[in-house]
């Protein structure tokens, strides 16, 4: 991360090493493809293995503006270390440049983030829902999506006294 900060001083908004020794940095959205390309292509860094991607809805955290934080997990087989890139996204314009042209592994993870959080990835080749069905309304991992909200595609049979998962009081 020191090298990234040296290479792109204006791209890095914040960087940190957490309690377990994992390094992460917050990148401004427009710099994301450049920084990721640098991390992947630089022969010394060599972050070629795309770990995963996910988002955090910061609605109930102390600083909730901008609301979303998309996290990319990259791994370098050469340096044997994980690194995470974070990009903050506002609620009004949840949009990011896609990393799929760079890492083919990003394809499905970005679809997952789109499905669960409603964050769009520009120039993603195949942006559609991955786990939920197309008719599903809303994005279930957002903190303001109620836990007990249910949208069955086929109407459920009424069954008395069934436990519908944590946080529900047994009512469908």
């Amino acid at each position: 991360m020191d090298r990234v900060a040296a290479q792109f001083p204006e791209a890095v908004a914040e960087r940190y090493v957490d309690r377990a020794g994992g390094a992460w940095a917050v990148i401004h959205a427009e710099w994301l493809p450049k920084v990721a390309t640098f991390l992947k292509m630089d022969p010394e860094l060599d972050f070629k293995l795309f770990g995963s991607a996910d988002a955090v809805d910061r609605l109930h955290l102390a600083e909730s503006d901008p609301r979303f934080e998309v996290v990319y997990f990259l791994y370098s087989l050469k340096r044997k270390e994980h690194v995470r890139l974070k990009v903050r996204v506002t609620e009004t314009r949840p949009e990011l440049p896609s990393l799929t042209p760079l890492y083919r592994g990003a394809n499905w993870w970005e679809r997952l983030v789109f499905d669960f959080y409603g964050i769009r990835f520009t120039d993603h080749p195949d942006l559609r829902r991955i786990l939920l069905y197309d008719e599903f309304q809303g994005h279930p991992l957002r903190k303001d999506y109620a836990l007990r909200d249910r949208q069955p595609l086929i109407p459920e049979r009424p069954i008395k006294d069934i436990f519908r998962g944590p946080g529900t009081s047994g009512v469908a």
Binding site: A20, S52, D54, H82, R84, L131, L147
Partner: protein
């Protein structure tokens, strides 16, 4: 019948067919082909786990394949974010029903990193033992099922016999066959039962015999080799680009095992090899799994021989439940017990990413805590997800028959992939 008339003249004129009806011979008309779309799944005998593969075929060649994975989706993350840290454990078990303890311990490892907690040595040993036992059951099922779907029933039965033996030992240890919920934050739930180690060693002896049988039946079997060798090939660069880890990546020739490169628990004390393939095809993935089982048995023997005595969970009432005499006899014990059960463990605010080597690859956990008793965010990086996402890349343009061994050896676990 004097007035004969021309039938053709009376037939209505059809501009669509008249033009070329006479040009096409009858033989050619039978060879008119078009692409066919078939659906494999959601629960096809050759697709392990619930997944639907929309396969577009031209003859027997796969033109296009689109895996659809959402059938089992249970809202794992959302469920975890609404219960206490300890209550997440049963959910993590159900991610991979063949190696539940690995998911369980991997999650706990991440939570402990977030707290900054060192667990007792004996607990670390027991975690290694549990993980390796479940690595064996996972690989046995995968290899056995691969053999089964290539037409060999006997290797599957041998695999199941070994798996049942190990699962009996797991049952004695944890009280459950599949979803064990054996770990606790700060250690594990129960100590090893009396005489258990000897029973495990005997079961491992039998498992090794059964591995020899499976090896002998499959590795040089003409049908098996013909169907797996050279099919489902992926290069190391592509595999890395897609984010592959675990046996599937090692079969491409990449020497990468988190147990070696960033040893967690006590893995650095054991002598074992990282198994690496060459070609990245189905046959290599099968061979890597077969050899990894032998390495697991090696680790297990060393761990059982050197396991130290001592506590199995940290002695900290803010994290582990107090012993029962304290709960029933002292007010401090009652309070600690009540706070832990009602509010959960108070994990300090912060975030962590921690990965362990599960049976199919890197199992990563990204946890965000806001300082309360419940996780704010639980992200799981399941090893099967990136592996399955590369399936269209490796199978398009190949034959339909290659899909079955490829799907077997990449070993997608439905619960993980569907989160």
């Amino acid at each position: 019948m004097s007035d004969s008339h021309n039938i053709d003249a009376q037939k209505p004129h059809n501009p669509d067919t008249d033009g070329f009806a006479h040009e096409e011979s009858e033989l050619e008309s039978h060879f008119q082909t078009k692409n066919m779309v078939i659906n494999m799944g959601p629960s096809h005998p050759a697709t392990h786990g619930t997944v639907r593969l929309k396969v577009e075929l031209e003859g027997e060649t796969i033109v296009k394949i689109d895996p659809e994975i959402g059938f089992l989706h249970r809202g794992f993350q959302k469920s975890c974010e609404n219960v206490t840290w300890t209550q997440c454990l049963p959910y993590t078990d159900r991610l991979n029903y063949l190696s539940a303890m690995m998911n369980n311990f991997g999650f706990l490892n991440a939570v402990e990193k977030l707290i900054g907690l060192e667990i007792p040595e004996r607990a670390q040993y027991i975690r290694v033992i549990g993980s390796e036992l479940h690595r064996l059951t996972d690989h046995l099922t995968c290899v056995g099922a691969t053999g089964l779907e290539m037409g060999g029933f006997a290797p599957f039965l041998y695999g199941m016999e070994a798996r049942e033996l190990i699962q009996d030992r797991v049952t004695e240890l944890t009280g459950a066959r599949l979803t064990t919920s054996f770990g606790r934050v700060g250690g594990i739930n129960r100590d090893l039962p009396e005489g258990w180690s000897e029973k495990v060693l005997k079961s491992l002896d039998r498992t090794e015999e059964l591995l020899v049988e499976m090896d002998g039946l499959l590795t040089r079997n003409r049908i098996f080799v013909d169907r797996t060798k050279g099919t489902g090939v992926i290069t190391a660069e592509d595999a890395i680009d897609y984010g592959w880890t675990g046996p599937a990546l090692r079969a491409c020739g990449v020497d990468h095992d988190l147990r070696k490169v960033q040893p967690y628990w006590v893995y650095d004390r054991f002598d074992f090899d990282v198994v690496v393939g060459q070609h990245g095809d189905n046959y290599d993935r099968y061979l890597v799994r077969l050899e990894e089982m032998r390495q697991s048995i090696r680790i297990l023997r060393q761990a059982l021989a050197t396991i130290p005595a001592g506590p199995i969970i940290v002695d900290d009432w803010r994290i582990a439940l107090p012993p029962k005499p304290e709960v029933y006899g002292t007010i401090e014990g009652v309070m600690a017990h009540f706070k832990l059960v009602m509010e959960g463990i108070q994990v300090p605010p912060g975030e962590v990413y921690d990965a362990t080597e599960a049976s199919n690859g890197e199992l990563g956990w990204y946890l965000v805590s806001d300082g309360r008793g419940r996780p704010y965010k639980v992200h799981v990086r399941a090893p099967g997800f990136p592996v399955l996402s590369a399936l269209p890349h490796i199978i398009q343009g190949k034959m339909l028959a290659d899909l079955v061994p490829t799907f077997d050896t990449i070993n997608m676990i439905g619960g993980e992939v569907e989160q």
